[in-house]
C-alpha cells in the first residue's frame, strides 16, 4: 500500500448561498484516489456525493464557495487558473452522467460527438478523429460501429447511449473517469452489462474510476474502496470487502440493514426520521438525530479516524 495517490482530496468543503445564508453541502471531506482502482462514493440523496464529484473537476457553478485542497499532479485544482483547468478537463479527468439522453446533443451524430474532443483537445484532423471514434466504439463493445457512427442519439437504446457516453469520456485516454450514477436510468440486465464494461475498460486502460451511486448492490460488485457519505459528511471509508463484512459507522450499519436483498427475505429495518435539510443541519455529528447510539459527545462534530478503514464517529474510536 505504498502507491502514491493520483488525486488527494483534503478537507474539501462546498457551500451554497441559500436565502442569504451560507449552507455547507459538503463538510470537510478527505479521500485519495489511487491509480487503477474503482472508488465508490455512496450515499442517499442530499449527501453531497454528486457535488463532491463535480468539484473534482471544478465544475460547480461560480456561486458555490469551495474550501480545502484537491491535489492533482502536484497542483491544487481548486486554485488553478481556468486556462490550466481546460487542459485537464476531458483530457486527464473525464466525466459521464446518469442521463445519457440529455447529455448527448440530439442534432449531432454519434461519430461527430466522439470525434469532437479528439479534434479539440488532441488536435487531430476530422478524418483521423473519425477513425479513432470507430476504434472507441469497438472499445465499448458497440457492434456494427460504422453504422452506429452515422446514427443520432435518438436512434440508440438507453444502454447504447451510455456506452457512447463512456466512449466520449475515454476519447482522450483520461487518468480518472468520474461516473455519476451511470446505470441508475438503465434496466438491470443492461446495468450489469455497463458495469462489466466499465470494469473491463479499467483493467485494459489502467485508469481509475470514481463511481457515484446510491445502490449498495452496485458498490458491492465493482468497488475496490468505498467512501460512505451522509448529509455532507464522509462518515466511513474502507476497502470494499471490509466495509461490507465489518461496517463500523452506525449509519453504514443501518444502511446495510435497510436494503432489501433479492437473495434473501429478512426483516427490513428502516432508519427512522429523515435526512436533514441542507438549511438546518444538526450541530455536531449530522447523523446523531437518527442514530441509536448517540450520546452526549455527539453534539460536537467527530473527526475521521486515520488508517485504511476510517470512521467518523465518537462511538467508534476503537476500530481502525
Amino acid at each position: 500500500m505504498t502507491a502514491t495517490p493520483l488525486m488527494t482530496v483534503e478537507d474539501l468543503s462546498i457551500s451554497f448561498r441559500i436565502e442569504d445564508r451560507w449552507c455547507r453541502a459538503v463538510n470537510g471531506v478527505s479521500f485519495d484516489i489511487m491509480p487503477d482502482e474503482t472508488l465508490c462514493l455512496v450515499g442517499e440523496s442530499g449527501c453531497g456525493k454528486s457535488i463532491t464529484a463535480m468539484s473534482l473537476m471544478r465544475l460547480l457553478p461560480g456561486s458555490a464557495r469551495l474550501g480545502g485542497r484537491i491535489g492533482f499532479d502536484g497542483k491544487d485544482i481548486l486554485t488553478m487558473p481556468e486556462a490550466e483547468l481546460q487542459t485537464i478537463r476531458g483530457r486527464r479527468i473525464a466525466m459521464i452522467f446518469q442521463e445519457p439522453m440529455t447529455s448527448l446533443n440530439p442534432v449531432l451524430t454519434v461519430g461527430e460527438q466522439i470525434a469532437e474532443p479528439l479534434v479539440l483537445h488532441k488536435g487531430m484532423g476530422w478524418a483521423e478523429a473519425k477513425r479513432e471514434a470507430r476504434h472507441l466504439l469497438d472499445l465499448v463493445r458497440i457492434p456494427d460501429a460504422d453504422r452506429r457512427l452515422r446514427q443520432y442519439p435518438y436512434e440508440l437504446s438507453g444502454g447504447m447511449r451510455q456506452r457512447v457516453m463512456i466512449a466520449i469520456g475515454l476519447a482522450c485516454r483520461p487518468e480518472i473517469l468520474i461516473a455519476d450514477e451511470p446505470t441508475t436510468a438503465l434496466d438491470v440486465t443492461i446495468q450489469a452489462q455497463v458495469l462489466a464494461l466499465l470494469d473491463e475498460i479499467r483493467r485494459e486502460q489502467g485508469l481509475s474510476i470514481v463511481l457515484i451511486t446510491h445502490d449498495l448492490g452496485v458498490v458491492a460488485n465493482v468497488a475496490d474502496r468505498v467512501a460512505v457519505m451522509y448529509a455532507g459528511d464522509l462518515v466511513e471509508t474502507a476497502p470494499a470487502g471490509e466495509l461490507f463484512d465489518k461496517p463500523s459507522h452506525p449509519y453504514t450499519q443501518a444502511l446495510l440493514r435497510t436494503v432489501p436483498r433479492a437473495d434473501a427475505a429478512f426483516d427490513l429495518h428502516p432508519i427512522e426520521g429523515q435526512v436533514p435539510s441542507i438549511q438546518s443541519m444538526p450541530e455536531g455529528c449530522r447523523f446523531a438525530p437518527r442514530c441509536g447510539e448517540a450520546h452526549a459527545a455527539c453534539s460536537s462534530p467527530p473527526n475521521l479516524s486515520s488508517g485504511p478503514h476510517a470512521v467518523r464517529c465518537w462511538a467508534r474510536r476503537d476500530v481502525a
Partner: protein, 322 residues
C-alpha cells in the same frame, strides 16, 4: 381464499391512426394474453424491465386505459362491461399509488384539500365535515394532523409518498395498485414506506398489486410474483421459490443481474447478451429467444404458453424450462 381480482386473457394494442396523416399507422402490442388472480389480503408483485407492459397492466386494471381484449373481474363484476357511472363508483375500491411523489400530488392544492376531495366527489362530504377523517388517515400513515394546511412542496419525498398512500386509503379500497411506489425513494425511507404499507395491509386486510423493477423489494414485500417480458407473463409463482429456483431463463438472468450488497457474493454479474427488443417490433415466437441461452429451433417459431408445472403454484412459459 377468495379471489378479489381476476384478470383473464388481457391484451392491449395501441394503434395510431391519424386523420389525413402521411405517416403510416403503427401498432404496438403492450400486453398479450395476461391472466392472473389476486386474493384478498395478498400481495402480488409484477416485475420486469422497460417495455414489459407492467404499467399498461396497472392502468388496464384501473380502467385508465381500455384493454383491447380480455376481462378484468373485480369482486365478481367484470369492469370492462360496466357503464361509466358504475365504473366511477367502483374506482373507489381500487386505488393507485404512483412512482413519483413529486408529480403525483397537485402542487397548488393543500394536503387537506387533496385528501378530502375523493370524499366530496364520491360521497358529497364537504371539506369541513371531511377533516376529522382526513386527520385520522394522516395519523394512520404517520403524518401529523397539522399537515392538513400545508402544501406538497413543504414535504420530503418519503413524506409525500405517505400522503399519496393516505389519499389512496381515504376511500377504504380493497385493492391498491402500487406502480414503482418506492422506487424514487432513498433506501432508508423506502423501508419505512414498505413497512407502513405492510402494517396497513395487516390492519385492513387489503390486497396489493405491486409493480417494481427491484428484485430486492419484490423478495421482501410480495407473496407471489408475475415476471413479465415484452407484454407477456413468462413465469409466475411464490416469490421465494421462484427467485431461488427460476425455471424461465429470463427470470434467472434478471435475478443474476441484480446486484446484491454482499461482497462475498461478488461474481462477474451474469451477463445477458443483447438488448430488450422494441415492443413495436417484437421477435417471432418466444419474445425472449434472441437473448436466450437455452433457445432451440422451436423458440423462434412458436410462442410458448404459460403452463402449470409440477411445483405448487408455479407456471412458466418456456419450451425448454430449467
Amino acid at each position: 381464499m377468495s379471489n378479489l381480482l381476476t384478470v383473464e386473457n388481457l391484451g392491449k394494442t395501441f394503434t395510431s391512426r391519424r386523420f389525413l396523416s402521411l405517416r403510416r399507422d403503427y401498432e404496438v402490442t403492450a400486453l398479450r394474453d395476461v391472466s392472473f388472480t389476486v386474493a384478498k389480503g395478498e400481495t402480488v408483485g409484477v416485475v420486469g424491465e422497460s417495455g414489459c407492459g407492467k404499467s399498461t397492466l396497472a392502468r388496464c386494471v384501473l380502467d385508465l386505459i381500455t384493454p383491447t381484449t380480455g376481462a378484468v373481474r373485480f369482486d365478481g363484476t367484470d369492469l370492462t362491461t360496466l357503464a361509466s357511472a358504475e365504473k366511477r363508483a367502483m374506482r373507489g375500491r381500487i386505488q393507485m399509488v404512483f412512482q413519483d411523489p413529486y408529480s403525483s400530488l397537485n402542487s397548488k392544492r393543500s394536503i387537506g384539500r387533496t385528501l378530502a376531495e375523493p370524499l366530496y366527489v364520491h360521497k358529497g362530504i364537504r371539506y369541513r365535515d371531511a377533516l376529522p377523517r382526513v386527520r385520522e388517515v394522516l395519523g394512520e400513515v404517520g403524518m401529523p394532523a397539522s399537515a392538513v394546511d400545508k402544501y406538497p412542496h413543504e414535504f420530503s419525498g418519503g413524506q409525500r409518498q405517505r400522503i399519496a398512500i393516505a389519499r389512496a386509503l381515504i376511500l377504504e379500497p380493497d385493492l391498491i395498485i402500487a406502480d414503482e411506489a418506492v422506487s424514487a425513494l432513498d433506501v432508508s425511507v423506502q423501508a419505512q414506506v414498505l413497512l407502513l404499507m405492510r402494517r396497513i395491509q395487516q390492519e385492513r386486510g387489503l390486497s396489493y398489486l405491486f409493480i417494481t423493477h427491484d428484485l430486492g423489494v419484490l423478495r421482501n414485500f410480495c407473496d407471489r410474483v408475475l415476471v413479465m417480458y415484452l407484454g407477456r407473463v413468462v413465469e409466475s409463482g411464490p416469490v421465494g421459490d421462484l427467485l431461488e429456483r427460476p425455471r424461465h431463463p429470463y427470470t434467472r438472468s434478471l435475478r443474476d443481474a441484480a446486484p446484491v450488497p454482499d461482497v462475498s457474493k461478488r461474481q462477474a454479474l451474469a451477463l445477458l447478451e443483447g438488448e430488450i427488443p422494441s415492443p413495436a417490433n417484437p421477435p417471432s415466437g418466444c419474445p425472449f429467444h434472441p437473448r436466450c441461452p437455452r433457445a432451440t429451433a422451436i423458440c423462434s417459431q412458436e410462442a410458448p404458453v404459460l403452463a402449470a408445472t409440477q411445483d405448487e403454484g408455479r407456471r412458466v412459459a418456456c419450451h425448454n424450462p430449467e
